[in-house]
Symmetry: C2
Subunit: 497 residues, 2 copies
Amino acid sequence: MTILVPAKSVLRGISTLVTVDKQSSTPLYRQIYDSYRARILSRELPAGQLVPSSRELARELRVSRLPVLNAYAQLVAEGYFESRVGSGTFVAHLIPKSPTAPLSAVVVAGASRQGRSISALAAALPTYEAPYWADNLGPFQVGQPAIDEFPLQLWSRLVSRCSRHLQSSALRYGSPMGLAELRDAIANYLRTSRGLRCEAGQIMIVSGSQQALDISTRVLLNSGARVWVEEPGYWLVHHVLTGAGCRAIPVPVDTDGINVEAGIKLCRAARAAFVAPSHQFPLGVTMSASRRLQLLNWAHSVGAWIVEDDYDSEYRYDSMPIASLQGLDDNARVIYIGTFSKVLFPSLRIGYVVIPTDLVERFAALRQSMDMCPSAENQRVVAEFIRGGHFARHIRRMRIIYADRRRVLIEELERAFGDLCTIVGTEAGMHTTIVMRGSLKDQDIAVKAMQRKLLVSPLSLAYLGSASHQGFVLGFGNTQAAQIPEGVRLLKECLAG
Amino acid sequence: MTILVPAKSVLRGISTLVTVDKQSSTPLYRQIYDSYRARILSRELPAGQLVPSSRELARELRVSRLPVLNAYAQLVAEGYFESRVGSGTFVAHLIPKSPTAPLSAVVVAGASRQGRSISALAAALPTYEAPYWADNLGPFQVGQPAIDEFPLQLWSRLVSRCSRHLQSSALRYGSPMGLAELRDAIANYLRTSRGLRCEAGQIMIVSGSQQALDISTRVLLNSGARVWVEEPGYWLVHHVLTGAGCRAIPVPVDTDGINVEAGIKLCRAARAAFVAPSHQFPLGVTMSASRRLQLLNWAHSVGAWIVEDDYDSEYRYDSMPIASLQGLDDNARVIYIGTFSKVLFPSLRIGYVVIPTDLVERFAALRQSMDMCPSAENQRVVAEFIRGGHFARHIRRMRIIYADRRRVLIEELERAFGDLCTIVGTEAGMHTTIVMRGSLKDQDIAVKAMQRKLLVSPLSLAYLGSASHQGFVLGFGNTQAAQIPEGVRLLKECLAG
């Protein structure tokens, strides 16, 4: 039922209608408020118009006075009404709204941003598409650990325990550097297992290695700075540099890692090099000791920074994990990045940066401005996971699982393709890459493969310049050994088709 | 015990010492590896030097052959040794390390960054200092909710339940926009309680309002862009703009909120305005309807963006919460920011941005490059908290608690200072501000107050230009009513002293 209240002289000049519906689930005060507000914005109620007293309106509407008082208080608080002591309440003087296109014309999905300028850097980023693996398709997705092998029950127990022992003091803002106990645990792990030279004070907890790449870029590099990147390399490094206005200089990678001499010829004065020395992405090579020294010497001589992305070095199959570049560096030129996304799970969003001591304060200042500090709860659980020995145990267990998946994959690839491809980067991590001989378009084949629920990444997409090789990056982290033979068979069909 | 293995002819020319300590907790392979690596890097072992076979060295060291084989494999993998089929294993040709200052000279804490260039934007950020409230001092800290009143047990139960029901599929990378169920819950809340016009597709989950400010700035504004900020205003907005190279134009705030006419006179062509229309920080005023329309009209006419920071509008004491600016905007010029830091707790790090539909894809692209996606676990818990009705209940309960704290604070301030100060911004939120009459230096007094464990924020610090007022921002969110009289008494003493 809608009660219409006609304009009457008793309502002291209200020239329009205030409507309420007593059956509606919307509270009465809200209906009165909405009604007035709409009519004031549409100019049906002119500025300076006296409004009826709350008592009068309540009587007209046959409602109690309380909702009317509430609505009036709100309209005064928001500036639609003005109260003048002794004279009553009036419609406020509002300037007219600009004439506008109908809302639908500007906010419909996919509408162009015509005439709506955004930053040049944001405009330069490649189109975002929901990643192809979001729908949980089949084998060979890259960058995914074996989530079905993750000790969910153990994790859940730790989460519950940490939350039961949650102190109210832990609800406050934390340090932009992260939780002290987790930083301690990570520093200890990195010193003993990864050969880093670092103290807990240099560790910043970030939400995954991506935030580490972003904050490092923002602290270290000016817009316009030229930066060595590995060619082929990791596409999200390219995005970070684009987003910061830096110019990526693709430097070829050979069997010893990034070719430092080539880099010096291309651009000696680059301000930084972004590298993955333990396990290059996507070629999987390990940077040789000689190249490491060359790279460090170059950085020292020109005053450049090295960003070392050590994203999955925990898993190495034919030798122990490779010592970090950071540990070789005598000049504190290396910013070291690691993550729990591959060792634990990606949606955890916890990674870390090891920062040269003299830069720690600047990283903290920028981090505070970026997002204050990391979330407390997950950090505590990870710290517990490491302290309880679960972390070391999990890595050992997963190394065996991944080694098996890798063995089956290599066998199947050799059987299926023989001399038609070269298999590279099998020493470590959770992916291997096959470089195909002959002429083919890996991107076309990847599209075909996706239709058969096969998630192979085209190698050519990893090149910033023109691709010198065609092939596929094959993740085996989240691909069960039993799935692999069929997956390779399907890939062969796609290549033949 | 350290067994020294002297250089002998049987070791085919090894001219130095490989040492192992069988009592050490360091594994033997690691000792052998470290020993070789150090001597190769220090040039004690020259390039091209033939190394003893693993069998020979094992015999010399009186250890089994396995650790020697492991160490050799590692040294080959990392490029310190080179294997030549048929000829044996040699020390690799490494280029010399550059001469360096001793490590300690560059990485000692607090060392200057002399000769170590960082980005101009990072250099421009103010010095980071651990916030004064990190040590959990006494009353009046700003921006802190009543953490002792947070329903910890209920929260812990929800956390446990969510983690028990964790599916392994939830371990994967998520969307950069956030978890669908949380975005739905927030869109629904904002439409019904905050008067927004929005769909779940426009909601991006971020790690607190700070990340929302950062991503909005990076998507919308070029370096050099001029931007209106409220004067006085929120200091971390200033940091975000500094970090992006934007030029903040301080626009005075009066009792109706930001003075749009003054803004137009100062800089009509600004590219954006950062405002808190519901509850301005620190003055606490509500932007009037008239000013809202003026601001929207200005933004429409010059093609500027409005970033609406609605950080604590849930708590309003004399009327219902104020409708958002976003809901008045017919031209999709408003980016709306909200957070759970004040309503739930700060260390949760969950907030949200409501993005004009045509900009959603650009926000997603930049977010992916910034940190991929938000953490999954906390999002699920918050979604459950809202869906279970706990959120609405919590807000109702806290509003009563805060209203009481606010009442006591105002009474005590009036009693203590009378006409010596004006109390402003008491309608909403978790802080009030007192503007002091007469001449005093609020920053000096705040330092005195801190020595007495009183956390008052000097009003003058909130000015970007020269401060036109001196006073104090007093948080009452995390200050119990019983603490307030003593706190005000102490403040009075500091002012008198």
